[in-house]
């Protein structure tokens, strides 16, 4: 369970990402990240692994920028991109997707948007579970990934299966909408409270803006 209020996480993610996107790197901007590492120290290794994986793509951008621009500019963008991604990974490492739905609801986003995000997440979860099941089946039935026609056919069947499954799930959801009187919104209970961690986090993020305005 996350120590943080989902709404604070969402607002912090948005503000920090915007701030870092439009400013050149300074060490003081690492402060919210340091705080989050302190809070999530148990998951840091797992998060860094994810960041490392994502860096395959960020390095590509770095190389393109290096060719087009100076090393300093490329490095600046590389570091800032990593900062934004790391901060977001730290923020949401412990929260389920449904926390984001709850946060959107608490922040008074349009009801239709909240329910659309919820059903999108539900669908992603269903299909990723299905994908995991198929992967297991392939393993159990002795399938090995290779570059043969048979392997590509199997991949094709796999995606076809997921596609059909998603249509069936969508139809089943539609049936539920009809039967349960759904008319464009889901009803959530807002009962989350602010903790000291939330206050420190939002303070640190806001301080960056204050620092930018004052200095």
């Amino acid at each position: 369970m996350s120590k943080f209020n989902a709404s604070i996480l969402l607002v912090s993610a948005f503000l920090y990402s915007i701030f870092i996107s439009f400013n050149t790197f300074e060490f003081i901007y690492l402060l919210p990240i340091v705080f989050m590492i302190y809070c999530e120290y148990k998951n840091v290794l797992r998060i860094l692994k994810k960041l490392l994986f994502l860096n395959f793509f960020i390095v590509m951008i770095f190389i393109v920028l290096l060719i087009q621009d100076t090393l300093e500019e490329a490095l600046n963008i590389y570091i800032r991109t990593n900062m934004i991604i790391l901060f977001n990974l730290l923020l949401f490492s412990n929260s389920s997707g449904y926390d984001i739905v709850r946060a959107l609801n608490e922040l008074r986003f349009p009801k239709k948007l909240v329910s659309s995000v919820y059903f999108t997440l539900k669908m992603i979860q269903t299909l990723s579970d299905e994908f995991k099941k198929i992967k297991q089946t392939l393993k159990i039935r002795g399938f090995h990934a290779s570059t043969s026609i048979f392997a590509y056919e199997t991949y094709g069947n796999l995606f076809g299966h997921i596609f059909v499954k998603s249509i069936k799930k969508a139809n089943a959801m539609e049936d539920s909408f009809k039967l349960r009187g759904f008319h464009g919104r889901i009803y959530l209970i807002n009962n989350s409270k602010l903790s000291v961690y939330d206050l420190v986090l939002i303070f640190l993020v806001c301080m960056l803006f204050v620092k930018y305005i004052v200095w």
Binding site: Q125, A172, R180, F182, L188
Partner: protein, 217 residues
């Protein structure tokens, strides 16, 4: 005794073949009827016809003595019909147990506090109050079935349509479902493969085949 559901010479075809024909069934007020049959015999489709999700090819369907000529006719009786699908995760529309159980009342325009009180009382009645704030998708199969049932019962439907309610459940969970269903006094159509389960609920057991329903002795 007045009939809640009447099916007269109902037939269903899917794109390639006839599923069943000449199906006739009367379900009285507070009567429980169980339907068994081979895989693909159309048990789930029959429930979907009664729930107003699909239209029969031929025949007549009456709910509370009113003929349902089109799927739109079912709108008037939506809150009188409770349908538990086989794949129960499809039924859920909210992330937490209490929110999902409250959903049908909130969608009807009932205020949050009142809906909350009713949801708590139904959870208590079904013995799952301790699950109140749990994420629905973290629950076991048996718990999910009971939560889905709570979400249905909260609107006090007159008809319950249950599609394989004990599918993939262990013995304990099955016993809990039997106890709950035996305490519910409503018209019910239950589709199941578990002979012992349906025998503990009702003596009215029908077998569905291509030629319709046959009552078991």
């Amino acid at each position: 005794m007045s009939c809640s559901i009447n099916l007269k010479k109902v037939s269903l075809k899917n794109s390639s073949k006839e599923v069943f024909r000449n199906l006739t069934l009367d379900v009285s007020h507070e009567e429980k009827v169980a339907i068994v049959g081979a895989n693909g015999s159309g048990k789930s489709s029959l429930l979907k016809i009664v729930a107003g999700l699909i239209k029969q090819e031929e025949g007549e369907l009456f709910l509370f003595h009113n003929e349902m000529k089109s799927l739109k006719d079912f709108n008037k009786y939506r809150s009188d019909i409770g349908y538990l699908p086989q794949e129960v995760s499809d039924h859920f529309l909210c992330p937490s147990v209490i929110e999902d159980v409250m959903f049908a009342l909130r969608a009807k325009g009932i205020l949050k506090d009142e809906a909350y009180k009713k949801a708590i009382s139904i959870l208590e009645e079904l013995g799952i109050l301790h699950l109140e704030n749990r994420n629905i998708y973290d629950l076991s199969g048996g718990e999910q079935k009971i939560v889905a049932l709570a979400g249905i019962l909260i609107t006090k439907p007159k008809i319950l349509l249950l599609d394989e309610p004990t599918n993939a459940l262990d013995e304990d969970a099955e016993k809990r479902i039997i106890k709950i269903l035996n305490n519910i006094k409503k018209s019910m159509i239950i589709v199941s493969h578990h002979k012992s389960f349906i025998e503990s609920l009702t003596p009215s057991i029908y077998t569905l085949s291509k030629d319709g329903l046959n009552k078991q002795n």
